[in-house]
Amino acid sequence: MAMQLLNPWALVLGAVSVGLPIAVHLLTRPRPKRMALPTVRFLRGVIEQKRSINKLRDWLLLLLRTLAVTALAFAFARPLLGVKPLVSSDATGDATRVVIVDVSQSMTASQRGISPIERAREVAAAHLAFHPGLRASLILAGESAEMATSSATANFAALREQLASAAAQTQRTNVPAAINAAAEVLAKSPQGHRRELVIVSDFQRSNWTAADFTPLPADTQIQLESVAPTAPLENLAIVRAAVRGRVEAGGATRIELDVLNDARTPRAVQVEVTIGGQSLHGSATLPPRVRTTVPIAWTPTTAGWATGKARLLDVGDALPQDDQRPIAIEVSSAPTYVLLTRESAAPAPVSSHFVERALAPTGERVTRLDSQQIDRVALSKAALVVIDHAGKMSDSDLEWIAGMLRRGRGVLYIAAEPIDAINLASLARAAGSDWKLPVEFVPSSFARGDLFLSDWRVDAPGIALLGDSAQAAIAPLRFAGGLASRPIASGLKDDIFASFNDRSAAIVMSPCGAGNIAVLNADLARSNIISSNIFVPLIGELANRAISSRVADDACPSGQPLVASLASVAKPDKLDIVGPDDASVDLGEIVVESNQTLWRWPHSGPAGVYRVVDEEKAVVHAIATAAPAEESSLAPIDPKLLESRLAGGRTVQFNGGDDVGAKRDDTAWTWAMAGTSVFVLLELLTLLLFRN
């Protein structure tokens, strides 16, 4: 707490007033009359007895009188109580000031009808008032740091106008970006200017633990103005709405809703999901302070993009914006497979024939393509690409397949011949950093045969179904062909599901981009597995796992850059992007890069569902955007953390509570006047108590 005096001269007057009664007392002290008294010994005894009491009385009276006069002087001095701000308009000299205003979603969490963003505008406006020698800049901190002006300016009217139009968005606060933007402005401040940074925010713990003030110039004075409500707020929020696994039309699935109960008590909630014309309901009791997953059963009826929203019913909390969350889920039809091989389609005891039958006994969902002349349009429609005895494939085809992998398609590669090592190496190169197979396949220096599985994981494809009989089923299996393998140091060993007795990998599966690649390292035609009861489950489960990685994503965080692949679109130039309403927000653009049609969106829009439609208004792609989950946790950060550990050596002052931004308390003079009265009354009481 610091104190400032409106009338400091009153204290001088008070000091004089304190001394005045003493001086008057000394000057007007009566001169004692002298008198001889033989019985002075009795008088001395009486005085000795009375002296201690009188001394106490005199000291008390002196103290009370002094206090009374001091309190009176204090009242006239009109003290201003409160924390003396690090950044204030009282300072003189040239200064460059940057004001960061938090416009994240949490700034709309209201208490008694007042939201932090409203208070933030008022507080920030006080720091954007004209002052000689002051130049200021305003940064609206959301997912990106939006600067009102490119540099510090003295045009405070423009800054305040920008501030007045600032509204909270369904975004998080990108604290590092805001601080970096402020640092950029402050670094350009002229030599000799005082550097000041004012941050007006609710200082959510989930966002501000990432704060780092070290990019700021070392002499920057940082004042943090908290507009967070003083009382803890209770908030319920749907922080995630997603579907696990592949969603197929007609197939039962579950929409998983993660509901956060940011309160001190358990809460029972009801949720409603409206999607694809269906209205689904669920309920749950939410423990306090944790996220709880509420599953909602859903059976989509048609393939395509299903959009809608999930919302909490009858919930009264501090932040209504996160009580609902948009959903966009792609509903696929039954998966189709493409088998790339150079083997004949005629029924024959060859590997590709066995694989084709294992994937679809009737063959209707498997499209066999010549690996040397690939129809890419047909290839693009496949959920899974199976490569078996394909021979040497062209690099462009492999790059295309790598692109499919990155976009979430699955690839099952049956490595039977030495040439497959070349294909896999080319595919790895095309996939780049997305390639994460734990082993590198190389041609074997000797004829591979009579191999058997020595190590396998119990959850390996095809084996997991066997349970306790897995050992008995696997023991008679013998394999031939395939490639030798070398482990990669950075590879994840868990991705090797089975190994042969020569330590080469037998079954490997790893993610690659958004998709999965699985490698079965054997020539099936020369192995006896095709006649065992493991073969069909193995191929089927490998295929399912390769394509089931396509988990429907949760909503994209609002404000973050987005690139969506629209690979199967035939006429990119006819596509259009449609937002949730007619709001004039930037919806990004459709571009074609490397034979891929992409939806490039530098700053994803506010919460809602955004669709890409073709000329027939059919939805080609859909994306839901929403505020990140951390925006729903309203707990503020510990101010000491900001002032110490996160300060980075800068001078940081945290002003919080209800009085932030308000005028400093100037009512102390009334208390001083009351104190004067009390001291005078106490003096009278003392005189009464010590009356002889």
Partner: protein
Amino acid sequence: MSTLAPDSDSKFLQRAALASLRHLRFAPRQRVHGGNAGRHRSHQHGGSSEFADYRQYTPGEDLRRLDWKVLARTGRPYVRLYQDETDMRCLLLLDASASMDFGSPNGLTKLQYAKYLATAMSQLILDQLDCVGAAIAGAGVVDRLLPGGTPTHVRRVQSLIEAAQPLAQTDLVKALDDIRSTNLRSGSLILLSDFLVDDLDALFASLRLFRRRRWDVLLLHIVDRSEETLPDGVAWRFEGLENEGAVDCSPAEVKCDYEARFSAFCAEVRTLALASDCDYRRLSTATHYLQSLSGFLVPRGG
């Protein structure tokens, strides 16, 4: 010791005023030893005409004292006893301490008051044909005259009293010890003092020794009205008379307690005096000394 008789009367002797007290006499409360025949009962039974008692005859006694008539009537020998009468020897002891040099404005000091009293008493004692002496108490006895009964002696006594001056150093106990060491025959000791001494117990212990030697002790406690109560006013500086320093105070604050203490002191002196079998009279300078004199002479059989 003064030896020469003054040529004129003491200024403290007011013969005209004393004439009104001529019918009064100072009588001891008990029998006294005297040197000559007088009007006071002696410790001895002698040949006076005043019958006192009978006592059985003891062989060897003077037969002239045998009461023959009683012997004839009862057949048993009895001796007639007569009260012997003697004169009184009285010693006036005047406290000349500095505290006695205090009095109300326009009034007598305690010492002056005591001088008037002592002078008047010496004259009365002379007039009743008794012997009177005087002693001035300072740091011991600083001046004295043994009791005598001639007018010349009494003038010397009165002159001694007149010449007494307040002394800075006084020790009343030592003065009493000095008197006691002179082996005077017992008589009456009249002490005129304000009793403002350091040790009252020691003083009365010494007085009790006089009583044990059959002295008749009369204590005249002289107080002044100005020391009974404090003056009004805001600020006073009271200065002690016996090197006691000065005290600044507001009398209003301490008046009650002071008066209570002074009263307690007077009560203590009186209690000690009565406990020591001494006659005690408290005399105020506000009262005329002749009135005070008659006030204690009458009860003593004057």
